[in-house]
Symmetry: C2
Amino acid sequence: MKNIKDLSNEDKSYLAGFLDGDGSIHVQLIKSKTKYGYHPRVSVVFYQKTKRHWFLMDLKKKIGFGVLRKRKDGMSELTITGFTPVRNILVILSPFLKLKKSLSILILDIIEEYKRVTSIASFLEVCKKIDETAKYTDSKTRKNTYFSVKNYLDSPVETEERNKDSFPIFKKSS
Amino acid sequence: MKNIKDLSNEDKSYLAGFLDGDGSIHVQLIKSKTKYGYHPRVSVVFYQKTKRHWFLMDLKKKIGFGVLRKRKDGMSELTITGFTPVRNILVILSPFLKLKKSLSILILDIIEEYKRVTSIASFLEVCKKIDETAKYTDSKTRKNTYFSVKNYLDSPVETEERNKDSFPIFKKSS
């Protein structure tokens, strides 16, 4: 079984350079049936033209995890998602990253803080940090933000649903 | 004075990863007043959004050469051009490149072979190798190819001009 910790410093430097050059590290707030109505999804994505799909296959083998797919536009993606895999790869690559170092450290912080969430207030603090990541990315659109979550949690109907923890009787009027 | 040979293997790996991810290595045939009417121009280019121009400034400092410019479309470029600088950086990075390794080795070969050109036939061999680089790049348009050079060298008017090595009396009819 491959272990990402066994990568040489040269391999880690190469991966960091490649990720800085043409990769993506991001966190989104996803609407879900969890306690707070949203949960964070963290991802690290490597891209390459599908004509060089072999390269991402090699990368996946080297890293030991990730989901590889061919998009319809001629690009391939190797996506690492989930708190543990993303934490594992970012812990390894952060010291070698240059462009995405601050973003990587912020996302590691979000993963740690989300683990310790025990209240709406502490979840909203995590959401604020998720909004902060926009400073470090070129993404122009964020579907859900701190305010989406706050509005949702402030809505009395939704709160009732949450508290009852059962099938909603009242539909949210939106 | 900085010397690219002093870079650590980790720095070389990072640069190779970054160049594989979002950089460009290429060679073009440029029309010129040289003996064969064209000469090769080799380049290594690193790109980054101008809002992270500092990164390319750091890179230039690390490499010790290159020309940095801000484009009008929000992108910055660090361009290394010329046989000696390109040879120096590619000799250093080739062992660490993965996606652009074959291209890099081919371009080093072109640089060496061009030095030894002593005849039209040997220059045309270099042009063939330049055409071969298209296999390794995503570039769809090549202005000048082996055939542009061959047509030029086969043209009697141009040959006369070349042989006289003086100001042309006859303009090329095309």
